[in-house]
């Protein structure tokens, strides 16, 4: 399944890249050696659910047009961190956030920022596929409609492009007006990706997108992420170490709400700098 375009830059990555976890600087050395500009930057991010602290002073940079994987044991705060990037945590009662999250250098917690516009820029795909109980077409057209697209021809074009983008077009083109709930689990998850693509976001957040899927469906989604890499910045939470190493360019290891290590993927998996990382990836806990 491994594909050459990924294999190569990873194989040729620079050894001993500086600690990515400690922010600073606008550019991140890519595994290929070129400087990659940041898309998202977290600065000293802490989060409390009521009195319980879920994130501890996290600073990290997420490079543009790259896939960043978040790994870590269950309950370490991966989903929480992901949700900070599109402010989905706002929906949770009693949440308190400190620190900054910058999207293209803009603080997303700026009170004058429109959170709906932010979410249009930062899309999200959830662990459990959650298509609306509408037709395939309406699912994909939902986002564009929300943002004001009315013309049928425009919508048709967006739906086709997004479904093609999510590698689902061939499978559903004859059943666009059937209920999305009749698709298979893998198809539903790709439909959710297509739905996210239809809004033309800049960043897509994936929260364990394959945890409910079989290897074939998982493979399809991974292929898809690789194809989307040239256009989108992606962050993926995963429990599957192989998946992280297969798809991502960078990997961040979270442990009990703190960012332990953030490096190019190959480096993190072959030569982890922290003992906890090594314990985790070698399966000693988590």
């Amino acid at each position: 399944m491994q594909q050459a375009p990924f294999e190569e830059p990873l194989a040729a990555r620079l050894p001993g890249s500086p600690a990515l976890a400690k922010g600073g600087g606008g550019k991140l050395p890519d595994s290929g050696g070129e400087e990659v500009p940041d898309k998202v930057e977290l600065r000293g991010l802490s989060l409390w659910y009521g009195t319980k602290r879920a994130l501890h002073d996290i600073s990290m940079r997420i490079p543009r047009n790259r896939i960043t994987a978040l790994i870590g044991p269950s309950g370490c705060g991966k989903s929480t961190l992901l949700r900070c990037i599109n402010r989905m945590n706002d929906l949770v009662e009693d949440v308190r956030i400190e620190g900054e999250v910058l999207l293209e250098g803009e603080d997303i917690h700026d009170p004058d920022l429109d959170v709906n516009a932010l979410r249009a820029r930062v899309g999200m795909v959830f662990q459990k596929s959650n298509p609306f109980p509408k037709s395939v077409y309406e699912n994909v057209a939902y986002g564009p409609r929300i943002h004001g697209a009315r013309k049928r021809a425009v919508l048709d074009e967006i739906v086709e492009r997004s479904l093609k983008g999510a590698a689902l077009w061939e499978e559903v083109k004859d059943r666009l007006h059937e209920s999305a709930l009749r698709l298979s689990g893998g198809q539903q998850q790709r439909l959710c990706i297509a739905r996210a693509l239809a809004v033309e976001p800049e960043v897509i957040l994936f929260d364990e997108p394959c945890s409910a899927l079989d290897p074939v469906a998982t493979g399809k989604i991974e292929d898809l992420m690789r194809e989307l890499r040239s256009e989108y910045t992606m962050v993926i939470v995963t429990h599957n170490m192989q998946q992280a190493s297969r798809v991502s360019d960078f990997t961040a290891f979270l442990y009990m709400g703190t960012l332990v290590e953030h490096s190019p993927t190959r480096e993190l998996f072959t030569r982890p700098r922290e003992a906890r990382t090594e314990d985790y990836i070698s399966g000693r806990f988590g």
Partner: protein
């Protein structure tokens, strides 16, 4: 055997003992559940069956036991007949001018006497339009009138009935020769006579009544004589209505002529090619039954439209009889009547509904006279050859029928067919009107107005509480609204009738202004809030907006009350009911549909609210998250995702609310005025099926038509809610299948 095979089904079941107990428990539970389910089903079917059983007899016609015709020795051609109670005895006026008392059981003459002593064998029977008695025309323009009454005595353990012949009264007509006549006997002892002269064909109307002073026992006689305008025609039949206001005649060539006796106007002939061979006047004196030589039967009313003269109105046609109609005799207790034709056919009809209750053959062709038993439970037909045909019949609910319940009927005194419910009236000869249509209409009207308020308030309230309100307040709100549902409806009805109705009457302007003012204030408040800097707004917790909003609602209501007198003055000229009557040209009742809408909302909103709130709350969070993550606002999410997904639940909420509104009794009973009118005017009252049952059941004799009609309306109510619930369930299941995979 069974237990063993079942035990094997349990993989790795515990020790045999526990497994056996489990099986027992399992079986017991299953039986219990099944019993419960069956019990509910059975009791439901039982109720349905009982309602049907009570209502079904309404549709049956008459059962008639006709005894074969018999000749009674000594009985000659029959001119007129009267039948006594229990159909045991009859009094016959023969063509020979003699009155004979018959024992119908033994088939013999008990007693025989001339109608007027000393003048035997000279008379000719006149027609008696109504009342118990005979009239006989004697030579010299005299008419003998003899009243017949029935005396009961109790003897040897059974009731005996004897006819009492009243004193002989001779009425002079002033004519030399009378060729046709009719008489009406009043209950109080008076009579009226209509007679046509054989010499100049003039018609005279004579009336005589007695008044006895209770103190002095002095009898004053009042007499009147009115010679009617001549028509130049000879009348074969004459008839008078019991109140003596109208007279009718049938000419030799079968034309109908009538006089308005009070105005004394010229007689009028009915235009058109109606041919009449017999006529009768129904109980109450308003319905004129005409039978034709072709067997056709029709009912006519004399109707006076405002500012016009009386006119004869064709009310309805009945199933024709075979041959020419010879005689028509009206019932004593209701609008039923008996018809005989020259083929010997006998038929029973009911006027109001136009139903034919029974048809049969007398076995005698030349029937000269008909008589109805005083309780409308027997009739007698007398042949011209002296034959007697006796029949006992039971027509328990002649006034009922599909047409009576659901059709438009032209009732007496109505100039067009109408749907009317009027089950009791002031007098014995009242025409009962049993249309269920105004009641169904009332039910639908009440429900419609109640739902007009309840559906939007209930659903939007649930939407707001579940989707926008701060969870802390939400948890307080829901039980509070549900407490509303536990207010007994009698209290709601009482408050609505006694407090709300006068309040709305005097403060309708406030009621109209309040929603507008509150809406403006809330919108204004929202707009102001959105102008405030975000940094300021973020200081308040989410869902905080409800506190200023509540304040604005209060403020709006207060403004409305403050402004009400001014508004009332400028909009309605200071008098809202008067304004409704003058400007909208519709009546205003204090207890009207608006009051019901408000009061019933208190009963219905909690139901709709609570079920739709659950439906909203059950929409998976993941769908909401998906929508929000796509950049949709909360409102967009609610409208485009939450609302459609919750729609099956909201739909059932509305349907259950509707069921409640349809079946609601106390509120509508107390606060509508219970006028069974059909009018969409919201300022009118109405009467619902349920309230009608409550109002009328204490008055309805068990087993009577009204009683059974109430059961029928209960069945209708049951059917209405049943159909509604079934339709709702079907729609709900279909909707749910769409969202089933969630």
């Amino acid at each position: 055997m069974k237990a063993e095979s079942r035990r094997r089904e349990i993989p790795g079941g515990g020790p045999p003992g526990t497994s056996k107990r489990r099986i027992l428990k399992d079986r017991f539970a299953r039986i219990l559940v099944r019993l419960g389910g069956m019990g509910i089903l059975a009791s439901l079917l039982g109720i349905l069956g009982y309602l049907c059983l009570e209502a079904l007899p309404l549709l049956s016609g008459a059962t008639v036991e006709l005894s074969p015709s018999r000749r009674i020795p000594g009985l000659g051609p029959i001119a007129d007949l009267l039948l006594g109670p229990y159909a045991r005895k009859a009094v016959v006026l023969g063509r020979d001018g003699r009155i004979r008392i018959l024992d119908l059981e033994e088939g013999r003459i008990l007693q025989e006497t001339p109608a007027l002593r000393g003048e035997e064998g000279k008379g000719r029977a006149g027609h008696v339009s109504s009342g118990p008695g005979f009239s006989l025309v004697l030579p010299g323009g005299r008419i003998v009138l003899r009243r017949v009454e029935w005396a009961r005595r109790f003897e040897e353990g059974s009731t005996k009935v004897d006819p009492l012949l009243g004193e002989e009264t001779v009425q002079e007509t002033g004519f030399e020769r009378v060729i046709s006549s009719t008489a009406v006997f009043e209950k109080e002892g008076g009579y009226a006579v209509l007679a046509q002269s054989g010499t100049d064909l003039r018609v005279v109307f004579l009336q005589r009544s007695w008044e006895i002073n209770p103190l002095t026992e002095e009898r004053t006689v009042r007499e009147s004589r009115k010679v009617l305008e001549s028509t130049g025609s000879r009348f074969l039949h004459l008839a008078l209505n019991p109140s003596g206001t109208h007279a009718f005649g049938v000419t030799e060539d079968g034309r109908l002529c009538w006089w308005d006796l009070e105005s004394g106007e010229a007689p009028r002939f009915h235009e058109g090619n109606l041919k009449v061979s017999a006529l009768g006047i129904l109980l109450g004196g308003n319905g004129l039954i005409l039978g034709g030589p072709d067997g056709r039967l029709s009912e006519w009313f004399l109707v006076r439209k405002a500012g016009e003269d009386f006119s004869l109105l064709h009310a309805r046609d009945f199933e024709p009889v075979e041959g020419s109609v010879r005689a028509i005799r009206a019932g004593h207790r209701n609008r039923g009547f008996l018809v005989a034709s020259d083929t010997g056919e006998l038929a029973l009809y009911y006027g109001t509904t136009g139903r034919c209750l029974w048809r049969g053959h007398a076995g005698v062709q030349r029937i000269g006279a008909l008589a109805m038993g005083p309780k409308d439970d027997a009739f007698l037909a007398g042949g011209e050859g002296g034959e007697i045909v006796r029949a006992s019949f039971r027509a328990e609910h002649p006034e009922a029928g599909i047409g009576a319940f659901f059709g438009a009927i032209r009732y007496e005194g109505y100039d067009r067919p109408s749907y009317t419910w009027q089950s009791t009236g002031g007098s014995d000869d009242f025409e009962i009107k049993l249309s269920l249509v105004p009641l169904v209409f009332g039910t639908l009207k009440g429900t419609f107005f109640a739902m007009l308020f309840s559906i939007p308030l209930g659903i939007l309230g649930a939407m707001f509480v579940s989707q926008f309100l701060h969870p802390g307040i939400r948890d307080l709100c829901k039980p509070l609204i549900e407490i509303m549902a536990s207010i007994p409806s009698v209290i709601l009805g009482f408050i609505a009738a006694v407090w709300l109705a006068p309040l709305v009457e005097s403060g309708f302007a406030a009621l109209l202004a309040a929603p507008v003012l509150i809406g403006i204030l809330i919108l204004g408040g929202g707009a102001t809030a959105s102008l405030l800097p975000r940094s300021f707004r973020r200081r308040f917790p989410r869902g905080f907006e409800v506190i200023p909003a509540m304040f604005l609602v209060g403020l709006g209501a207060w403004f409305a009350i403050l402004l009400a007198p001014a508004l009332e003055g400028s909009w309605f000229g200071g008098d809202f009911p008067g304004w409704v009557q003058e400007t909208l040209k519709v009546p205003y009742e204090q207890r009207n549909a608006v009051i019901i809408a408000l009061a019933m909302s208190f009963a219905v909103i909690p139901i709709i609210f609570s079920i739709s709130e659950d439906a909203f709350a059950n929409v998976p969070r993941s769908l909401v998250s998906a929508s929000l993550a796509l950049g949709a606002s909360r409102w967009q999410t609610v409208v485009r995702v939450v609302l459609p997904t919750a729609s099956p639940g909201i739909f059932s909420a509305v349907m259950i609310g509707l069921g409640r509104a349809i079946g609601e009794t106390m509120i509508v009973l107390m606060a509508t005025g219970n006028t069974p009118i059909m009018d969409w005017n919201p300022f009118n009252g109405f009467r619902t099926l349920s309230a009608n049952i409550a109002v009328e059941i204490p008055e309805a004799p068990v087993g009577g038509t009204l009683y059974r009609t109430l059961f029928l309306s209960a069945l209708l109510l049951f059917g209405l809610t049943f159909c509604l619930n079934t339709a709702a369930e079907v729609v709900r299941l279909r909707l749910r299948r769409r969202y089933a995979e969630l």
